[in-house]
Subunit: 318 residues, 2 copies
């Protein structure tokens, strides 16, 4: 890319998990034309609950991009009601995973179509369209891939670790069941091999829990490495700790230092540029690091960071 | 039985479907001690919708016996809300089968346990207990058994015929998929072989759609025939037509006359006494028929009919 203008400079593929990643994805929708933007979302958190297929990260992205996200929780829908959940409790059912009355509809519609052998990709496309989302939101794979956490309290399926146990058990290792036989979604492959691809973005999601399941899909790393476009990641660390979630705890448990260098190491040569927050400037020795306002509070913050990402990609391409 | 007192005269097993049958089942709970009453419910209507296992007749019985039933619809829960269903519609999902926000909880809790290989019998027992129901509510079988309707519009799964198509297609035949390999539930078998069994009741449910699926289970008829207790059925016809539902239409389509004699014929020697409504008195030639107030509008009507059923059983045993 030779253009200094980050807008409309080509197509963009962004990888993300849920809350933090979805914020940057929303920012990107404001600076990249919808037909040029592909959001590739982690499906390692997916599970069946009450018989329903829940795709937590895909849901969060759909709700965030369509303005339906609950701003207080970061997950689920705004204006939610909980009569279903209360009744589940009355009937002696499991209440550790909160499903709102309107959120349930998304899982139900998805499950009905999965049970008719539709792909998660096709279903997500139609759900996104029904919600008025124009950018392409793609599950990383249509195959089963389940994040499993090996802890001092035993081997836990992701949601049991993350939601039910509130990340309290000490993590020993993280694995992705089914990853060895999964394949990148066809539209993911197409987006990563598009001739006009100008940036691959790794959102500030948890590298271990949200990005690794995507990278664990055979062929995914190869597609990224083969792309001519620069890879720009946003560090999920700010001021020496994680903005949200269990990242700092997990990095400690896995004996990783809580540094941007550690994040770069983790991505193992894949990332050309790592955007790190302004407040971490003194520690940014690696020439691959670049300062940016990575803490996103407002919509303006999300858009500003998205612009920085595109600028970094444009510079890296020069 | 030699006692003229219908109460506490022994144990009672009642077979029923949904709405009409559940009304008499409720009446029976008022005149039979809870530990002596077993309600055996049709599962031919069961199906998976949105991935959830729905047992419409079991649900209606649970809601009816626990005072939760919606008095206006006859199905579903009182005080229901519909945010789930509205959102399903917004997302382009199927809305032909209405599932309320609180009703959904029952299906979700059931499905979660079925997916862990619990039996429908055990799950229904716990749901009934959570709802404060003391009588035994038993699905007729723990095996899969699906009512399928052969019509002039093709072969339709029961709910597609009954709810989606509103019984409009002309019925040619009714079959019960899986019936050949099903077995009566263990507790159903125990109830039908109890030494103190004093009455077997066939509620005024649709004989073709609600009772036949139960009788189609291999061994069920034999258990009824082998029981020493009399079999008392309540005719679902009043004044020459069905009280509710598609019964009259189906009987016409299957070339059956809309008469109590036709109902007796249908049960093919199984029924010793058929209770028919007072208004049909002139037509009751068969000595197996007995007059009773079978139209149930109020709770008092349900209890009065339950008493008549037990009286008829007591007389038949004398």
């Amino acid at each position: 890319m030779s253009s200094g203008h980050p807008h409309a400079s080509g197509s963009v593929v962004a990888f993300c998990g849920g809350i933090g990643g979805a914020k940057l994805a929303l920012g990107l929708t404001h600076v990249v034309p919808a037909d040029k933007l592909t959001i590739v979302v982690n499906t390692g958190d997916d599970f069946r609950h009450f018989g329903l297929h829940v795709s937590p990260d895909v849901d969060t992205v759909l709700y965030t991009l369509s303005g339906r996200a609950n701003p207080e929780t970061g997950w689920g829908r705004a204006g939610e009601s909980w009569r279903f959940m209360e009744t589940v409790g009355d009937l002696g059912g499991e209440t550790w995973f909160a499903l709102g009355d309107t959120d349930l509809a998304l899982h139900a519609v998805r499950t009905a179509r999965l049970d008719k052998d539709d792909t998660l990709t096709a279903i997500t496309r139609d759900l996104a369209a029904a919600m008025g989302i124009e950018a392409a939101v793609l599950p990383a794979t249509d195959h089963r891939l389940a994040t499993v956490v090996e802890t001092d309290a035993g081997v836990l399926p992701f949601q049991r670790y993350f939601v039910e146990r509130k990340c309290a058990p000490v993590v020993r290792a993280i694995r992705f069941d089914g990853a060895d036989t999964a394949l990148p979604g066809e539209r993911v492959q197409a987006a990563l091999t598009a001739p006009d691809l100008s940036a691959i973005v790794i959102c500030p999601s948890n590298p271990y829990l949200s990005i690794d399941p995507i990278l664990a899909i055979p062929g995914m790393r190869g597609l990224i490495e083969a792309a001519a476009a620069p890879v720009v990641a946003v560090s999920p660390l700010v001021g020496g700790t994680a903005v949200k979630g269990p990242l700092a705890k997990i990095m400690g448990e896995l004996d990783r230092s809580l540094t941007h260098a550690s994040v770069l190491d983790h991505y193992d040569g894949l990332v050309g540029t790592l955007l790190v927050d302004r407040m971490d400037a003194p520690g940014t020795a690696d020439r691959r690091m670049r300062i940016a306002p990575t803490l996103m509070t407002s919509l303006a913050d999300r858009i500003a960071l998205a612009r920085c990402v595109l600028e970094a990609a444009a510079e890296a391409s020069q």
